[in-house]
């Protein structure tokens, strides 16, 4: 039914070329200045359940920071708190010196924080162009919103270009393929020009090609911004992460490490292998998870 997603168009643009393992790390983490995002002592309870406990977390400009951990580790909750969807019980979230806790979701967007959701949410009744235009117009006052739009802003054109959706500009977003919807959602973020992007499982349900394409997109986004990615897919993490933080049962297990450090960490392995064993036992899945490649991608779960 739906057309195949546009193949990656990265050739010729060095900035969105896939990263090879031999490449030097793009961001020298130790040398970066003040973190753009600084979280201290964050805790949240739902009823009696401690979803997050005493979380400290930093992310710097220009880095792609992966947030991993088994289900229920509190990854999405952390994103929810940063974006104002959930109120923390304790702790603070400061972004570029601005305290985020206590602000409404839409105010936080105005501070320069954007996010996507596990299930791609685009406005299906609108066209691709209209979706992007709407995202790009969020700073307009009501008077200008009431005018009929003519042409596209540069930010929209850039987003179309980067996501490879230019051909689909007049297509209804509801008619896009699954991967394209994810890209459109990322494109909408891009059109808003945020400084911190939070992507919640951006490659869930994608084919290997699409994953690569998305990874390239993420690397493109990271130029001059901070990208925080919540993911289960370890392979994807290995290919595209600058820094990794591991969460487990609401606590930080390993903070701000490199991919190699995380892979070598025995506690992390324990958490993941234990989980993989559980998965095998309960769902009868073949144990694809070996040491060093901790978890199978959780497509089914994310769907």
């Amino acid at each position: 039914m739906s057309p195949q997603p546009t193949p990656p168009r990265a050739e010729g643009d060095p900035a969105i070329r896939p990263r090879h393992p031999s490449d030097p790390p793009q961001t020298p983490p130790e040398k970066a200045g003040e973190p753009l995002l600084r979280i201290r002592g964050l805790g949240v309870q739902f009823g009696g359940f401690h979803a997050l406990t005493d979380v400290d977390f930093d992310a710097r400009e220009g880095e792609v920071h992966f947030l991993i951990g088994p289900n229920g580790a509190g990854k999405t909750t952390l994103v929810d708190i940063i974006t104002g969807l959930t109120k923390p019980t304790t702790g603070s979230v400061s972004f570029d010196g601005q305290q985020l806790v206590g602000h409404k979701e839409h105010r936080i967007v105005h501070f320069g924080v954007g996010r996507t959701f596990q299930a791609a949410t685009v406005f299906e009744a609108l066209t691709v162009g209209e979706n992007l235009d709407l995202a790009a117009s969020y700073r307009l006052g009501l008077r200008r919103l009431l005018r009929q739009p003519r042409g596209h802003a540069d930010a929209v054109v850039e987003a179309l270009e980067v996501t490879g959706l230019a051909d689909e500009v007049d297509k209804s977003a509801g008619a896009l393929a699954h991967g394209q919807k994810q890209w459109l959602e990322i494109g909408m973020l891009l059109a808003q020009g945020p400084r911190l992007l939070l992507l919640d499982e951006p490659v869930a349900g994608m084919s290997p090609d699409e994953r690569t394409r998305t990874g390239e997109l993420i690397r493109y986004l990271a130029r001059g911004r901070t990208v925080l990615v919540v993911e289960h897919d370890m392979d994807f993490m290995r290919r595209f992460a600058d820094r990794v933080t591991v969460l487990h049962e609401g606590r930080i297990l390993r903070a701000d490490a490199t991919v190699a450090e995380v892979q070598a960490d025995p506690t992390v392995q324990e958490v993941y292998i234990g989980r993989a064993r559980d998965d095998r036992n309960s769902a009868g899945r073949s144990g694809a998870a070996a040491a060093g490649a901790p978890a199978a991608s959780d497509d089914e779960e994310a769907a």
């Binding site: 739902f46 009823g47 979803a51 909750t77 929810d80 969807l85 959930t86």
Partner: protein, 296 residues
């Protein structure tokens, strides 16, 4: 002081009527999320069932007829609900606003049907002798029919509670309401559970209809008088929460009777409506809230 007791009794009595008419909604609306605007007409169907049973048994058996009407109305209204669920509501899951409008259309049709079957004139349901008159308790005059309605409301609530929390059927019902997919995956036939929930919810409306015959006479638009109040009770109580509905009904009943005592009937109704809107500002999830995480 005696006046205050009197008004408290009146409030509890109004509250028990509200509870009766709203009880069925805590199932169909609260648990299934179906806005059934024909709920009032199911109440009306229950009332007409009482009339028909009485006519069939003749004048001598008023008491028997009345008691027999309770199960009869449960079945008649329940079957109407079942038919509505199977023919229309089933096709409209996930479209709550459309369900609301469609069931309103059904309500109009049922009203006109009642008019054509029983005449535009109201019909008279005779009261059994033991419901006439009243007595005095602590200097407060209490009518027997009011006591009966309170007892019936209590019994119906207890019955509903029993079904939901003690019977296998009820556990399935709750499972489906909490997570439809998961319940389906665990081998529960969700369609069958929906049907039974709807039967029960609609049947309870029928029972309320029997009680209401004891308040006034029975006419085609009888249900319209109760539908808005009933929904407000469920919304204010917290969706699908039996406990919330009980509290909301009684509080609304008391508010109504006390405010009416100091002001007047029309103003009291307006004030109560405004209070509910204000209350929902403070607690949009109602009196008894479901603990949820995020919005998903």
């Amino acid at each position: 002081m005696e006046q205050l007791f009197s008004q408290i009794f009146v409030g509890l009595s109004i509250g028990s009527i509200l509870l009766l008419v709203a009880l069925g909604l805590t199932f169909t609306f609260g648990q299934m999320g179906v806005i059934n605007m024909a709920h009032g007409e199911f109440i009306m169907a229950g009332a007409y069932t009482t009339y028909v049973v009485q006519q069939a048994l003749g004048d001598g058996a008023t008491s028997t007829a009345f008691l027999l009407s309770l199960p009869a109305a449960l079945v008649v209204a329940g079957l109407l609900g079942l038919a509505l669920e199977a023919l229309l509501i089933r096709r409209l899951y996930g479209r709550p606003l459309d369900t609301l409008l469609v069931t309103w259309g059904v309500a109009l049709i049922l009203q006109q049907l009642a008019r054509d079957l029983f005449g535009a004139q109201n019909v008279e349901v005779k009261s059994p002798g033991w419901l006439n008159g009243g007595t005095e308790v602590l200097g407060v005059g209490v009518a027997y029919n009011r006591i009966f309605i309170m007892v019936l409301a209590l019994a119906a609530t207890a019955g509903a509670w029993f079904v939901v929390s003690r019977m296998k059927q009820g556990r399935r019902m709750r499972a489906v309401m909490q997570n439809r997919q998961l319940a389906a995956a665990s081998g529960i036939g969700t369609a069958a559970v929906d049907r039974r929930t709807f039967f029960l919810g609609s049947g309870l409306a029928g029972v309320a209809g029997v009680a209401i015959t004891q308040l006034g006479s029975v006419g085609p638009t009888l249900g319209q008088n109760y539908i808005v109040d009933a929904f407000l009770v469920v919304v204010a109580g917290g969706l699908g929460k039996l406990r919330g509905a009980v509290i909301a009904a009684l509080v609304l009943g008391l508010c109504n009777s006390l405010i009416e005592y100091w002001t007047e009937a029309s103003l009291a109704k307006v004030i109560v409506f405004v209070l509910i809107v204000a209350f929902l500002q403070l607690r949009p999830q109602g009196i008894v809230a479901q603990e949820t995480r995020g919005l998903a």
